[in-house]
Amino acid sequence: MDDKKVSRREFLAKTSAAASVTAGATHVHSHEAADDVQSEYSLRARALVSVLTKKNLIDPATLDQVVDYYETKVGPHIGARLVARSWLDPDFKDRLVADAGAAAAELGISGTLSSEFRAVANEPGVHNLVVCTLCSCYPWPLLGLPPTWYKDTAYRAKAVIDPRGVLREFGLTLDDDVEVRVWDSTAEVRYMVIPERPDHTNGLSEEALAALVTRDAMIGAERVPEPVQR
């Protein structure tokens, strides 16, 4: 056995290179992509809806309305309004941090009665990241339905043990002296992040500011990008 010292980083880099070389050759099946799996899900989903409808357990019009509601009415634009307002109005920001549901209700945003909502604010030296390690809890009324990466096993696994590695993969490298706060949504409290206001945004309206705020910034996965220079 060769006892030569290799740094851990070098070792990991070498082995992961080898893994990627054979990834194609050795990968037996990609399930999610397989058409027959999709068609099996499709058959089962149609059967389920058909049986529920025939037995009058659901009203198909309600099904359509529910989907329409989440596809067109609720989404990250709601959270973005809260963030933009908080950037312009420090008192509102205080109320948003104290009770995000109540602050949202001030702006006429509904659907926040059943759970509690918390907004956690990034600031110089502090970065917040939201996750649900056990399932996929997410502040639906404020941000809509969560993105695929948020619900995926990898993010749920890594966010709590290696938040800096996750952020680095997402393109955000934090200094070692920044404090990372990870919020694991294990109960009926839902979290959103108030990202920091980017530079060069003086004089922008609340609407223009809201347009800058991305969904992923309100999860903590990125910073709000600077406005594009024209």
Binding site: R46, P60, D64, T153, K158, F170, D184
Partner: protein, 216 residues
């Protein structure tokens, strides 16, 4: 249960790429699964609903797309509560339609709230106050729980009292609401992950009164 769903702290997974333009539903069946579940006046709680996902066999859990887990859970719970039968799902064509009743509540924003039980807070006192050092009990219940494995046996500080909520561990199992306080508990990342963590980092976890005891 120490299920495969309890993923916090696991290594070996690869992050999915972030796609800012992805549709909410990639396939029509996902839309049907989501919409039909929310349109249903389910006789079970959100806790039992989560427990339904957790009991998907581990090797299938990891390979199922997100809404396939919902589909599995919906089928299982509808059967368990006697609302549909496996035979009906296997041959939907053969199921006769009953005459439609009056339409139900169509306020989509309120549909989900029906599954979250508002706890009766009368006389429910907190065992801990903000600033208290607490130890998460090292318990491994066979049923549903919301104390992830990575905090069990670890110490943190109560950072906020989140108020009184229904206890998922009993509620998911049909064993009662057992309303109690829930706390945001702050853990040093090094307390959870040892030398691997940056000493500046913190992890905040919402934990129920019954999961906690005073730190020794």
């Amino acid at each position: 249960m120490n299920g495969i769903h309890d993923l916090g702290g696991m290594d070996g997974f690869r992050l999915k790429e972030r796609d800012p333009d992805e549709p909410l539903f990639k396939h029509e069946w996902e839309r049907l699964v989501f919409g039909s579940y929310l349109a249903l006046k389910a006789p079970w709680s959100i806790d039992e609903s989560r427990y339904g996902v957790e009991r998907i066999p581990p090797e299938r859990y990891l390979t199922m797309p997100y809404y396939a887990r919902w589909l599995y859970r919906n089928e299982q719970l509808l059967i368990k509560y006697g609302l549909v039968t496996a035979a009906e799902l296997a041959d939907a064509e053969a199921v006769p339609a009953v005459a439609p009743r009056a339409p139900g509540d169509r306020d989509a924003s309120r549909l989900l709230s029906g599954m979250i039980v508002q706890a009766d807070t009368t006389g429910v006192m907190p065992s801990f106050a903000v600033g208290d050092r607490v130890l998460v009990k090292n318990e491994h219940p066979e049923g549903h729980t919301r104390a992830p494995r990575y905090v069990r046996g670890r110490q943190g500080v109560v950072q906020r009292d989140q108020g009184v909520h229904v206890f998922p561990d009993t509620n998911a199992m049909g064993l009662g609401h057992k309303p109690q306080h829930c706390y945001s508990v702050r853990f040093n990342a090094t307390e959870l992950w040892g030398e691997r963590a940056n000493p500046r980092d913190r992890v905040y976890v919402d934990l129920f009164d019954d999961y906690l005891e005073p730190a020794p």
